[in-house]
């Protein structure tokens, strides 16, 4: 491994120097050395215990996968091991010595590095500044940038990142930014690497590149805790699997001793029956009369350099998929339809009417609603509670709240009377609307007044679906609807999308998960380099077929 110039800060307030010496020497061949042992980890929030005494062992040279539904306690475990939270019970040992992490810095000093799902990089700083943030090598108070830069160049080369150390991190792709995080861990000579959903924002080739790097790190004796919702990744990469459910360890076993079904059963427990629905439900084919104009139609749409000659149509009650690798224009197309991107040529028709979409509110007025790809940045209002987030575009004057199980076509007329900013909403009406939605979509929150950020990813996404439902759209645009959402919640979201379609809403789904597209949609448009290269029926098409089309 690369030796960091100055490396990690010397000295630690959590253990003696002898342990630090041990850190410095990677284990030779002995792959079974226990680096971190957590026993009986307990944690409660607001009097509710969410972790009931979980054990976890991380060994050098091992990729240890941690699986479980959202809310199973994965994040809590990560936060305990990285010093972001302090346990209410149990013991963490590093190299056999008990430790107590008072803050993230203490965990870092003990050699534990976390690559969080939301990358912890300063976008306005350069690569070298980020890599050495908090551990800058100094002489006479001044940072030795030359040394730092030399180290970073070596590490970037090793990781296969084609970037200069002075490049500003905010200008890099997510995949490369993630590798900057890994560079941080390498430079700091961390012996334990916790990766939380590292591939959720990566395309296939970036994922493969990441896997190669993870395998190399493993070969150097690093212990890796790998959290992912993608089971195939886990079986590709991991040596050991631990499954959590409801704050308890359900199983912990070598990868050879279990198969995918076993893992899913362990994750879902009694809820495994849900998996029966994972198969595409037989659904009546598009009910729309052929005479009706499509709810959404694009004709030869062009947008800058990213979209060329895009023509597609989605009828009421149809779910249509969009496939394509990162950069194929898949995300950009959805943004263009929602008025977030300039359309230079071609026409967009909503409900048969040609519309000019300069900003989202015009798309909204015409009954289109987007659930954005980046939930945290563009979807939820973090300061608001769950109810406020759900109720945000609710217009009681437009229509009575529709139970999503009840059917009924959506009428454009109601959308014309979107609420003006000053019309007061009755708290009672609002509460009722929220309750209906909470039940219909199965949003799990202890109180409607909970901050939305306290909810798991899946439940946040459901809250956004509830918001969409309350705005009575007739075209629903979805971008990565289940990113960062676990298996169980995924299925609930899928059935919510099915119900939207049953009510006659036209749904356009853009996703990087092909199984998701095949599960949800009737037809799939495949994009490549900003053009639609194929339109396939989901029936009788395999993921492999689509992958081939995407790659060209």
């Amino acid at each position: 491994m690369v030796s960091g110039a100055g490396g990690l800060a010397n000295g630690s307030d959590t253990h003696s120097d002898t342990h630090l010496d041990t850190w410095a020497t990677p284990s030779e061949g002995g792959q079974s050395e226990v680096l971190v042992r957590a026993t009986g980890m307990r944690k409660h929030f607001d009097g509710v215990e969410v972790l009931h005494g979980v054990d976890l062992e991380l060994r050098s040279g091992q990729v240890h996968a941690l699986l479980g539904e959202n809310g199973a306690g994965k994040s809590t475990i990560i936060n305990l091991l990285s010093g972001r939270l302090r346990p209410d019970g149990g013991q963490i040992e590093v190299y056999g010595a008990p430790v107590e992490f008072r803050n993230p810095l203490a965990a870092r000093r003990a050699g534990i590095s976390v690559i969080a799902q939301e990358l912890e990089l300063v976008p306005t700083l350069s690569i070298v500044e980020n890599v050495f943030l908090g551990v800058e090598p100094t002489r006479h108070w001044l940072i030795r940038w030359a040394d730092a830069r030399r180290t970073v160049v070596t590490v970037l080369e090793e990781l296969g990142v084609n970037a200069k150390p002075d490049q500003i991190v905010g200008s890099m792709s997510i995949a490369d930014q993630q590798l900057v995080e890994i560079a941080k861990a390498i430079v700091g000579q961390f012996r334990v690497l916790i990766m939380d959903e590292p591939t959720s924002a990566l395309n296939l080739s970036d994922t493969q590149r990441l896997f190669k790097i993870v395998r190399r790190l493993r070969a150097t004796g690093v212990a890796i805790l790998y959290v992912s919702h993608r089971l195939w990744e886990v079986f590709d990469l991991a040596d050991r699997i631990t499954v959590l459910r409801d704050g308890q360890r359900i199983l912990s076993t070598g990868i050879a001793e279990i198969d995918v079904d076993g893992v899913i059963r362990a994750m879902l427990g009694s809820k495994s029956s849900l998996m029966g629905m994972a198969a595409r439900p037989s659904r009546a084919t598009v009910p729309a009369a052929p005479t009706a104009p499509p709810a959404l139609a694009l004709d030869a749409v062009q947008s800058g350099e990213v979209l060329h000659d895009i023509s597609l149509s989605v009828h009421a009650g149809q779910v249509i998929g969009l496939a394509g690798v990162l950069g194929s224009g898949r995300t950009e197309l959805v943004e263009a339809i929602y008025g977030l991107r300039r359309i230079d040529a071609g026409t967009v028709r909503l409900n048969g009417k040609a519309v000019e979409l300069r900003e989202p509110k015009e798309a909204l007025r015409h009954g289109a609603f987007l659930l954005p790809e980046d939930r945290k940045l563009e979807g939820i209002f973090g300061h608001f509670d769950v109810r406020e987030n759900v109720i945000l575009s609710f217009d009681p004057s437009a229509k009575k709240v529709r139970k999503s199980s009840e059917s009924g076509g959506s009428e454009t007329a109601t959308l014309q009377r979107r609420r003006s900013g000053l019309t007061p909403i009755h708290l009672q009406t609002e509460r009722k609307a929220f309750e209906t939605m909470r039940k219909a979509l199965g949003i799990r929150c202890s109180r409607p007044e909970d901050r939305i950020t306290a909810l798991s990813g899946g439940n946040q996404q459901k809250a956004l679906f509830a918001r969409a439902a309350l705005s009575h759209p007739n075209v629903l645009l979805l971008s990565e609807p289940t990113r960062g959402v676990d298996v169980g919640a995924k299925e609930e979201i899928y059935s919510a999308i099915d119900r939207f379609a049953e009510q006659g809403i036209a749904v356009l789904v853009s996703s990087s998960e092909l199984s998701e597209l095949l599960r949800l949609s009737a037809h799939i448009y495949v994009l490549r380099a900003g053009r639609i290269v194929a339109q396939v029926s989901a029936e009788g098409t395999s993921e492999g077929d689509i992958l081939k089309l995407m790659a060209g």
Partner: protein
């Protein structure tokens, strides 16, 4: 070892705008009235720019940290008054200067502690201290002006070194070099930027947010105190009007210099250019016989242009978005 990246960034488009505007202002005003280029006028510009640049440089760090310090003007006044009072009691000059700067340390420390202990947004905390410090000044002076009888004190600021370089400029250059080193070459400086760029990442990297915050406010406090001492030395008296409105000038030179108000970046060279720019415009309007009553209007317009440029630079990538 120099840091080419930082130098490149320093000279990048951000400060270029202020630099170009500065050249344009010189060309225009010297065309209107050649008196603009007189030694006296240029000296005036340089001294006034030096004083606002020093506070501006400190403010650049605060804004890079995504904070604001509204109390800098009152710290200037307090330091000047403290110095004047001490001088009138026969305290030796070196001790007066050290005490004046210590006033900056103390008041900056108060600001920093208020912000981290009460978890107040910096502009709210410093708005409160602005008022309190001003009140303190009035209590000390009883609203009167204290004359400074120290020729040496004044000479330190207004004399010309080697017959052409105002001493104030030398002080400002030293401060610039010092703060540039702190900002770009010390962990503290990078941590300031990290906090402004993404506080979550800064916490994750193990940065002691509280310590850095307090440190930055002490630094800007010292800068403001130094500006205040220099103003007092220049005017040869001190009262509570010293530094009045200086917080707005300080913020203006930072923003016009190309530092974004959203934090995460700081352009020290731009701040210096913008200080010269604003001082030149002020002096230019004067020699062009424009009533000084128009000054504020002109400065306000420049600020709007600078903020617009900042907005364009950050790129309203997505259309139809308004940031309120």
């Amino acid at each position: 070892m120099a840091m080419p990246g930082a130098i490149k960034r320093m000279l990048a488009a951000e400060s270029a705008a202020a630099l170009l505007a500065l050249i344009a202002v010189f060309v225009i005003f010297s065309a209107i009235n050649e008196r603009f280029l007189s030694t006296l006028n240029i000296d005036g510009i340089v001294v006034s720019a030096s004083i606002s640049a020093i506070t501006g440089l400190g403010m650049t760090l605060i804004i890079a940290m995504r904070g604001l310090d509204l109390s800098v003007g009152s710290i200037m006044g307090f330091a000047a008054i403290a110095a004047a009072e001490l001088l009138s009691h026969g305290v030796p000059l070196w001790l007066v200067i050290v005490s004046g700067l210590a006033v900056g340390v103390g008041l900056g420390l108060c600001n920093g502690l208020l912000i981290i202990l009460l978890r107040l947004p910096s502009f709210v905390a410093t708005l409160a201290t602005l008022s309190m410090i001003l009140g303190g000044e009035l209590l000390i002076t009883h609203g009167e002006t204290v004359t400074i009888h120290s020729a040496l004190f004044s000479r330190i600021v207004i004399s010309n070194i080697g017959g052409c370089v105002p001493a104030a400029a030398v002080i400002a250059i030293l401060v610039f070099v010092l703060i540039w080193l702190i900002f770009h070459r010390t962990p503290f400086g990078r941590h300031v930027v990290a906090i402004g760029g993404d506080i979550r990442a800064a916490v994750g990297a193990g940065i002691n947010i509280r310590r850095v915050t307090v440190g930055a406010f002490i630094l800007v406090g010292v800068c403001a105190a130094l500006s205040g001492l220099m103003t007092g030395a220049e005017l040869q008296n001190a009262d509570s009007t010293i530094g009045a409105g200086a917080e707005l000038t300080a913020i203006a030179v930072v923003v016009v210099g190309g530092t974004s108000l959203v934090g995460g970046r700081g352009n020290l060279f731009g701040t210096v250019c913008a200080s010269l720019l604003l001082a030149s415009i002020q002096a230019g309007l004067n020699v062009a016989n424009v009533s000084s009553l128009y000054e504020d209007l002109v400065f306000g317009s420049i600020l709007i242009v600078a903020l617009m440029v900042d907005g364009l630079r950050r790129g309203t990538r997505r259309r139809g978005m308004l940031v309120v």
